[in-house]
């Protein structure tokens, strides 16, 4: 099992998921919109094909940080 600290600009939470869970499924289950921001896994930016990969595919063994941050333009 993998402990995932995840969040976006507004919320943070911690979940424990199967190592075979996909990045997309974890974000969707947490209600995080990953379509409008930059999503990082342990600080590295994820690309479109990465969301179908599992934590196992990324070599995550115990825990990780998964954040989707939207950068808004300031006036």
């Amino acid at each position: 099992m993998i402990q995932v600290k995840l969040g976006n600009n507004l919320q943070r939470s911690t979940v424990i998921v199967d190592s075979n869970a996909t990045i997309r499924s974890v974000l969707e289950d947490a209600g995080i919109d990953y379509g409008a921001g930059i999503t990082t896994l342990n600080g590295s930016t994820l690309h479109p094909g990465d969301f179908e990969k599992t934590f196992d595919d990324f070599g995550i063994k115990e825990d990780c940080m998964l954040y989707s941050v939207r950068k808004a333009d300031n006036a």
């Binding site: 099992m1 993998i2 402990q3 911690t14 979940v15 424990i16 199967d18 190592s19 075979n20 063994k61 115990e62 825990d63």
Partner: protein, 131 residues
């Protein structure tokens, strides 16, 4: 209570929980497969689940059981690198937290299963079939 057996250089963890029980809870009450702690008991501390074959995984956050024994109880087998003299201590060190939480779940899950099954029976009883 979970049991650990060392066979040669393999360590086998066998739980009292049955594979079908875990599958049933995963479907009807997945939160029961997690030990909750932290503030207001809302933080997940440890979780168990099933995985399709492979070696399974065990760490301080959870156990993914890949197989079940002949009696239906889930098991996990891990091939270890330690020598025969070191293996018992090494397994005890690596698995201590996981086994502690697993024993906690084993004491709670049967009651949750009873409740889930009773609710389902009640629901089944309230279903009318018109022919």
């Amino acid at each position: 209570m979970a049991k650990i057996t060392i066979v040669g250089n393999a360590a086998v963890l066998k739980s009292d929980l049955k594979k079908e029980d875990i599958q049933e809870l995963k479907k009807y009450c997945p939160k029961a497969l997690t030990v909750w702690g932290g503030e207001d008991n809302k933080e997940p501390m440890f979780s168990i689940g099933l995985t399709n074959g492979g070696e399974g995984k065990i760490n301080k956050y959870g156990i993914e059981f890949p197989t079940a024994a002949a009696d239906g109880c889930v098991t996990l087998t891990q091939v270890r690198k330690e020598s025969p003299e070191e293996i018992v201590n090494a397994v005890a060190d690596d698995w201590a937290i996981a086994v502690k939480y697993l024993n906690q779940l084993e004491s709670v899950i049967p009651h949750v299963l009873e409740s889930v099954r009773a609710e389902r029976q009640q629901l089944m009883g309230s279903i009318t079939v018109l022919q």
